[in-house]
């Protein structure tokens, strides 16, 4: 069971059961769709951006424990960051969840394990990648 608990770390299970900032909010300046048709995961991300600063993040939708927890943490960690700060946080998340590197950010740790599970490579990064793609298109 150790193996499983590594993936479904208490952080992930907690965020999955009680996700933070989990509500629709059409009243924002930006709305992003994060969709992976292969596994059916489908979230909407909501946030305001004024003067390149991101606030009021929330999300809503459907996904596995890992993707949901990851979205929850995304909305928490990104709040109040400038676009540049957000992108550099994305890089650190990517290093951890996709490349399996140490980043020193405690909340990212459980996602390091996720990418090693069969077929679960993309769960952790879904919302983060969608955000990155969206922002790249903004530029």
């Amino acid at each position: 069971m150790q193996h499983l608990d590594e993936l479904y770390h208490s952080i992930i299970r907690e965020h999955n059961k009680n996700p933070l900032n989990y509500f629709k909010n059409e009243d924002v300046t930006h709305k992003i769709e994060a969709y992976n048709p292969l596994c059916g995961d489908h979230f909407h991300l909501y946030f305001d951006m004024h003067d390149n600063r991101i606030t009021n993040l929330s999300f809503h939708g459907y996904g596995c424990a890992v993707s949901k927890a990851s979205a929850s943490i995304f909305t928490e960690k990104m709040n109040g960051l400038t676009l540049d700060e957000a992108l550099s946080l994305y890089e650190r998340f990517y290093a951890c969840a996709v490349e399996g590197k140490e980043t020193g950010i405690k909340d990212f740790l459980p996602f390091q394990v996720a990418s090693k599970f069969p077929g679960r490579e993309k769960c952790a990064s879904l919302t983060w990648e969608s955000f990155k793609e969206y922002v790249d298109r903004l530029k």
């Binding site: 048709p37 596994c39 059916g40 596995c64 424990a65 077929g119 679960r120």
Partner: protein
């Protein structure tokens, strides 16, 4: 009577242990079946005693390879009760078989405004080829609906058929729901309107009796790897009258009679459709798979599938939080389920830790998931080697998962 333990011994992969020293509980036979020793050994046997390119060889080895290849054609003809060996075309799988019919039969006769009917529960392989063909030709794909149990609404078929309809394409058994469709009735109704029917038999062949003459279907497609045979093999059955009038699918060696730079003439059936060097070893393995199935007896295999289906269904109905997706009156050994709000990928990852292999997701049937308004299911599917003990273990583990994710 052969026991299940004896059967299991024929499947080397199931006998092996995984890295944790556990035996694998393989419940994903709808994706691909495991292979019996006889099939695996036949591949070795082919390459160590017979390997040569077929047709037109004037030496013993090529002669033997050709004879065996053509004998397998006859064996498969008999296996699906077709009238003639020429009606059996070797392809690489169900997907290629459907694409062949789309390109060589339907494409030339499909005009703008014409229609193709598919069912609401088709695998992408028997859906996307028709959809794309219709888009290209300005034709219309009509969808034969299903009900909440996951059964085709047969009474709607006649409404969809008309002089504009060029083909009905329907699966014999849904890989996502397990539903056994009333193919014979569908064929009979379609034929009243003069419309030919292609049956996607991927989940039926090798698991239940297949009789293309009794069904009276016009085309029947299936894959070797889903019936205990090798990957890269498959069969398209077609009625001779259609195959005769169809243009070749691919061009190349083995399917031509005479070639000039200006023009070519093509061979007779079935070679017209078999361009290039076929999967000769694969076909040898398929021969062994069919022999294995016939030796066990298709009735026996079919009964085993029903027995496991019934046993498992009953167990699942007792677990609070489990919903079985697809509750047709007539089903094969495939069960799709959802467990509370546990995502299928979390469920399958959890089960994998206990050595259980099940499939999670949309099972190449996205429109089916959309119909049931779910993103996916956990799918359990049985092969001849599965046991009720494995089902008991699965049920235990699913209960654990429900607790774990609670």
């Amino acid at each position: 009577m052969i026991t299940i333990e004896e059967i299991r011994k024929e499947f080397p992969l199931l006998e092996g242990l995984n890295q944790d020293g556990c035996k694998l509980v393989y419940l994903d036979s709808a994706a691909t079946t495991q292979k019996p020793r006889q099939v695996i050994e036949q591949l070795t046997n082919y390459y160590t005693t017979t390997n040569a390119n077929i047709h037109r060889g004037t030496y013993d080895l090529a002669e033997k390879a050709t004879r065996d290849f053509e004998k397998t054609r006859t064996q498969i003809q008999q296996f699906i009760h077709a009238e003639k060996p020429e009606e059996i075309i070797f392809v690489s799988g169900t997907t290629e078989a459907v694409n062949l019919v789309a390109d060589s039969y339907v494409e030339p006769i499909l005009n703008a405004g014409n229609e193709i009917v598919v069912s609401a529960m088709e695998h992408h392989s028997n859906l996307v080829p028709w959809q794309q063909l219709c888009l290209r030709k300005n034709a219309k794909m009509q969808v034969l609906p299903m009900n909440e149990q996951g059964e085709i609404r047969l009474e709607k078929l006649a409404d969809l058929l008309s002089g504009k309809t060029k083909l009905v394409a329907v699966s014999h058994i849904s890989n996502a729901l397990g539903t056994i469709n009333p193919v014979k009735e569908i064929v009979s109704i379609a034929h009243e309107y003069g419309v030919p029917v292609l049956v996607d038999g991927a989940q039926n062949a090798g698991h239940h009796r297949t009789d293309v003459v009794d069904l009276d279907c016009d085309f029947y497609a299936f894959s070797g790897h889903k019936m205990y045979g090798p990957t890269g093999t498959g069969i398209l059955y077609g009625k001779e009258k259609w195959l005769e009038q169809m243009r070749p699918y691919r061009y190349g060696g083995e399917m031509v009679k005479a070639v000039r730079f200006e023009k070519s003439s093509f061979k007779e059936l079935p070679h017209k459709f078999e361009a290039g060097t076929p999967n000769i070893a694969g076909v040898a393995g398929l021969q062994a798979a069919v022999a294995y199935i016939e030796n066990l007896g298709i009735e026996y295999i079919s009964e085993h599938s029903y027995a496991l289906l019934n046993y498992a269904t009953e167990k699942f109905l007792q677990i609070r939080g489990i919903t079985i997706i697809g509750q047709a009156a007539s089903k094969s050994g495939i069960i799709s389920l959802t467990a509370k709000d546990i995502h299928p990928h979390d469920m399958s990852t959890f089960l994998n830790e206990y050595g259980i292999a099940v499939r999670a997701g949309h099972h190449c049937s996205l429109p089916v998931m959309e119909f049931f308004k779910i993103p996916g299911t956990t799918r359990i599917s049985f092969g001849i080697y599965n046991t009720t003990k494995e089902i008991d273990y699965l049920v235990q583990c699913i209960e654990k998962a429900i607790k774990y994710f609670a």
